[in-house]
């Protein structure tokens, strides 16, 4: 349990900051007033809980946030009933779950969903049924290319690109290897973003895509090194990235390239898992602010998790995304005059005013367009022996694919 230490330290630090702020800090973020008693407003989420990895963290922080809302005035007196379904990483299950939430339960919106497959499976269904979705964290391309789904995060494509931009601007990297799982609309899509940006900048980019089921870290590392690039971006989930860095350590390749990763490796357990060898040598791009940052929202997130969440709920960047999704949908619901229906909620989402948060770099809004990618800027962190420290504040990941959204 060595890796639990940073979490404990972070919790202690928060305890300090809480002590210095008024005790109502947690409640301020979720409202004020008496516990809600009226007819519940149903909000759904679909997360990939059982399966290759547990993606339920965002729904847990959203649930904690809604509990806090219900204890503090609710949505103008009405409580939120938050319904979470597990899609088990299976499109069929995801489709059934969406039918259950939307048709059978009659949810007015979705918030905090995090899934590898749900966006692709259900995007059309949400559009046909006029359901607005604020995804806690979107991973595959489909989450960013649907009229009714707006993820809180930047997405791994922009995060991978962000890591490259930082190395290009600050470390003089002029050639890159993008290492990613070969899943359609996932790994290939991340690396294409790097290539499109690279083509504009005259930067050389190579891809090392691999079958996610058969990961051979040593051969991947050697393949990447053979391309002779300045920087290697390990665009993998943390459990896959760890053996890759271990394999690179075995070959003593730390100084042979600049080693980078997207948000997925920004995990409190990661530094201990890859070991001291890599301290100071791995940089990661992060889509939300650092987990121990002291802004209003990060502080509120942690205190709400302590008060309304379970001790076992993760305090990770997915959790930050779920917190934000819940907070934003709460604000939108509270602002609706008249009946709260899926139509009025979707309309309110599409016309909402942009929201600022210390967890984000820029203001976030759902937006009216055919696709959504409001969060486009992030930060860089560098791994230390026992954690991560911020090495660069907000900067935009300038993906040519975003031209339609920017215009």
């Amino acid at each position: 349990m060595k890796h639990a230490l940073p979490l404990t330290l972070a919790a202690l630090a928060c305890g300090f900051s809480l002590a210095m702020t008024p005790p109502a800090a947690a409640n301020e973020a979720c409202g004020s007033g008496e516990p809600a008693t009226g007819e519940p407003i149903k909000i759904g989420a679909i997360v990939g809980q059982t399966g290759p990895a547990d993606f339920s963290s965002a729904s847990k922080s959203a649930a904690a946030f809604f509990d806090c809302v219900n204890a503090n005035g609710g949505i103008n007196g009405r409580p939120v009933e938050y319904l979470v379904e597990d899609d088990a990483w299976n499109p069929e299950t995801a489709a059934n779950a969406a039918a259950k939430l939307v048709n059978d339960e009659g949810v007015v919106a979705m918030a905090g969903s995090t899934s590898f497959i749900e966006c692709g499976t259900n995007a059309r269904f949400y559009a046909d049924n006029g359901i607005g979705v604020i995804a806690g964290v979107g991973v595959p391309r489909e989450c960013f290319f649907s009229s009714n789904i707006a993820p809180m995060n930047m997405g791994p494509r922009l995060s991978t690109l962000g890591a490259a931009i930082d190395a290009y601007e600050n470390q003089g990297a002029r050639s890159f290897v993008c290492m990613a799982p070969n899943i359609p609309n996932v790994g290939g899509w991340f690396c294409e973003g790097l290539a499109a940006w690279g083509a504009d900048k005259g930067v050389e980019t190579h891809n090392v895509l691999h079958d996610p089921a058969t990961l051979d870290p040593t051969s991947l590392v050697l393949q990447a090194m053979a391309m002779g690039a300045d920087a290697i971006i390990v665009a993998e989930p943390a459990p896959a990235a760890i053996p890759i860095f271990n394999a690179a350590e075995d070959q003593d390749l730390r100084e042979e390239a600049i080693w980078l990763g997207p948000t997925s490796i920004y995990d409190t357990a990661f530094p201990a898992a890859v070991g001291d060898y890599w301290a100071g040598a791995i940089k990661a791009h992060i889509e939300f602010n650092t987990l121990d940052s002291d802004g209003v929202d990060n502080t509120a997130w942690l205190s709400i998790m302590d008060e309304y969440g379970n001790a076992s709920d993760p305090r990770d960047s997915f959790s930050q995304g779920g917190y934000l999704a819940a907070k934003i949908i709460t604000g939108v619901l509270r602002g609706i005059d008249g009946d709260i229906t899926r139509q009025s909620v979707l309309e309110a989402l599409q016309t909402m005013e942009a929201v600022d948060s210390d967890l984000l770099c820029g203001a976030w809004s759902f937006g009216p367009g055919d696709r959504h990618n409001a969060n486009q800027a992030g930060r860089m962190v560098t791994m230390t022996a026992d954690g991560w420290e911020t090495s660069r504040d907000c900067f935009v990941s300038d993906d040519p694919e975003l031209a339609d959204i920017r215009s």
Partner: protein
């Protein structure tokens, strides 16, 4: 003996009360189950309607697995994978041609039937465990390929995958069955047709030839059965059934993902067919129920759906040790016992 009185029947094997009446007496429980589903499922809500639709699709594919096991004695550990093949053909044909769903369904069934015959080719040389392993390897291979390439989603080229910023297309449902409920009833009707077709085939010359092969190659030869062709027909029919199931599943969700088709699922389906008792036509429906609905029901009770696997394991041991004719056999025994008790007939 009363033999001489009945001996005047011109064609003794022909059912005296007509085909439908005979089927009704033999498969009364199955027919009742279909009617009950048509009556009850519409009132269960969208989630259960979708689950029942998936179950029906799986049941059709399971009919093929049961057919190969019970009629030919072949173990196919590629039931769900073949369903994936059917789904692939269905999606590819639907996106490429835009033909009505019914035509796509028939074409997908034919293509998957042909694939089934190909998968049956090793059966000319290998039986038992070796053939079972060959089908399992096929299932694993299919999973690897379809996981990396993905199912067709409206793109161009042979694989039909979109790229760039094009939107993934969903497979169009039949014009008369666009809603979830209508589609469930549509799938139920297709399943009834598929089960009836299977029943007719097993009662036809082809089915008799299968029974002879099962009795032994020597006697099949002696009875003039062309074993290779008869087997190919079984593999073709099993493939076509999987094709229909896969295509219905694709139509239900609109798209498919490799994750639904990993080899463990095929293995599980085979186990459930054995538990259900493949010698009965109803087994496929029971297997489909166990495969798709049982975990969903556990889930709705707040029990982890994965525990279903453990329960299935115990049920399989029970089926092998003490109920070799499976659940369908036990149900059949129960209903015949009741019928006999009621009519006072001792069979």
């Amino acid at each position: 003996m009363a033999m001489s009185e009945t001996s005047r029947t011109p064609l003794p094997h022909a059912a005296p009360r007509g085909f439908l009446a005979a089927a009704a007496s033999q498969h009364g429980g199955l027919i009742t189950a279909f009617f009950l589903m048509a009556l009850i499922v519409p009132f269960l809500g969208s989630y259960w309607i979708k689950n029942f639709t998936s179950m029906i699709a799986v049941a059709i594919a399971a009919q093929g697995v049961a057919l190969l096991h019970a009629r030919l004695g072949f173990v196919s550990l590629a039931g769900i994978a073949m369903m994936g093949v059917g789904g692939w053909f269905g999606l590819r044909l639907a996106h490429a041609t835009g033909l009505p769903f019914e035509i796509v369904l028939v074409l997908a069934a034919l293509c998957t039937g042909a694939a089934g015959v190909l998968l049956g080719l090793p059966a000319l040389k290998h039986r038992g465990l070796i053939y079972a392993l060959i089908t399992l390897m096929f299932a694993a291979g299919f999973h690897v390929v379809v996981s990396s390439i993905g199912f067709p989603d409206g793109g161009s080229g042979f694989w039909g995958r979109i790229d760039g910023s094009a939107e993934r297309q969903l497979m169009a449902r039949p014009a008369i069955a666009a809603s979830d409920l209508a589609y469930f009833l549509y799938a139920l009707a297709i399943a009834a047709a598929a089960f009836t077709a299977t029943h007719i085939v097993t009662k036809s010359a082809v089915g008799r030839a299968w029974a002879m092969i099962r009795a032994g190659d020597a006697v099949a030869h002696a009875a003039g059965v062309r074993i290779g062709i008869a087997r190919a027909k079984a593999f073709g029919l099993a493939g076509a059934l999987a094709g229909v199931g896969g295509c219905l599943l694709a139509g239900s969700i609109g798209q498919l993902d490799g994750r639904s088709f990993d080899p463990v699922q095929s293995l599980l389906l085979y186990g459930l067919v054995i538990i259900a008792g493949p010698w009965s036509l109803a087994a496929a429906l029971i297997a489909g129920f166990l495969y798709r609905m049982f975990p969903a029901i556990l889930d709705s009770w707040g029990v982890d759906g994965d525990i279903a696997i453990t329960i299935f394991g115990l049920a399989l041991i029970h089926a092998i040790v003490s109920a070799p004719r499976g659940i369908a056999g036990q149900l059949h025994d129960l209903t015949s016992a009741i019928q006999n008790r009621l009519s006072g007939v001792d069979r």
